[in-house]
């Protein structure tokens, strides 16, 4: 765990994954930037975390682009129906950053679709298990990114199952 505080942007903080990651990371050495279409929810989550955890650095941010620009790691915690629209907004500021994306299933094509949307980012697919609510599968071609996201989901209370893919 680095000494220098890392910034994590959570896009879709209203989702189960988003809330879990926010609550799991807030007591660790992270600054959290929360974005959700429902900014009231994001505000309530931020207030709750700040009330419960002393010293937590959590902020609601109104602009996805700005959140991702400030972030070291981007977590897209909502299932993304239109990855192209989202990637157009944030791709430029996600270059060479870890982008952890919630996927509906272990589908390489889905992962590749996201990778095409973020061609210069280290994309990690996060797939909740259908059978065990505490497990998530992590799928990626990037070893170091896998380690970072594994650490994050563990802190969020999940059991990560790792699937490292061969790079092209």
């Amino acid at each position: 765990m680095p000494i220098t505080k890392q910034t994590v942007a959570i896009i879709g903080s209203k989702s189960i994954l988003g809330v879990s990651i926010a609550k799991g990371l807030c007591s660790e050495n992270y600054k959290l930037l929360l974005f959700d279409e429902d900014d009231t929810f994001a505000g309530q989550l931020s207030d709750q975390i700040c009330a419960e955890i002393e010293g937590a650095e959590v902020e609601v941010i109104e602009c996805q682009h700005m959140a991702c620009w400030e972030a070291d790691v981007v977590v897209i915690a909502n299932p993304v129906n239109d990855i192209n629209r989202l990637s157009e907004k944030i791709r430029e500021v996600a270059t060479q950053k870890i982008v952890a994306v919630l996927l509906k299933e272990t589908d390489l094509q889905q992962l590749e679709l996201v990778e095409r949307g973020f061609p210069h980012s280290k994309v990690v697919g996060v797939i909740p298990s259908d059978y065990d609510k505490e497990s998530v599968q992590l799928m990626t071609k990037h070893t170091r990114a896998l380690r970072t996201v594994k650490e994050m989901v563990e802190k969020a209370g999940f059991k990560p199952l790792l699937k490292e893919l061969k790079p092209h």
Binding site: I3, T4, K5, W69, E70, D72, Q96
Partner: protein, 192 residues
Amino acid sequence: MYEQLYNSIHEHVTLSEEEWELCKASFIPKRMRKRQFLLQSGDVCRRLAFIEKGALFSYSLDENGNQNVIQFGFEGWWIADLYSFLTDEPSELNIEVLEESELLMIDRDQNNELMEKVPAFANYNRILFQNAFVALQRRIKNTIGLSAEEKYTRFLEDYPQTKERVPQHLIASFLGMTPETLSRVRRSLTKS
């Protein structure tokens, strides 16, 4: 977002359109707020940071918690702990944001990969390290054997932007003098 970097690189080498796109794709864009840390003492410095906009400074802390300023960085400059970056040893420095900044960072692996793919970028790196060495030598020369007035005068010649943008106590620390001595020096230079 890449304007200053483009200018900095093209001041020294020429890149083709394709090479420039490869270059841009290798850098991590990061916006930082005042008083945030780019690097804290104890971490290994794994990235070089180019300042597109804003200002940062690096410093060490002595056993009494006093800041010893090593370097300032402004638009168009690079900032890092080169010792830690090159040796992989934990840094003894902190790099802190002085003004809200927009950075472009490149990690060691990406830097090496880019130098292999784009020989002109390798040349640019070489020039950067040469300039860093020259700047270090100049810094040492300007610290030894000069009066306080001479140190401050040379400092303003080398870093004209600091006068309006950097608090006096940080300038004093950089020059190895107390804030009171710096105030005296500034007063005496104003009179003359």
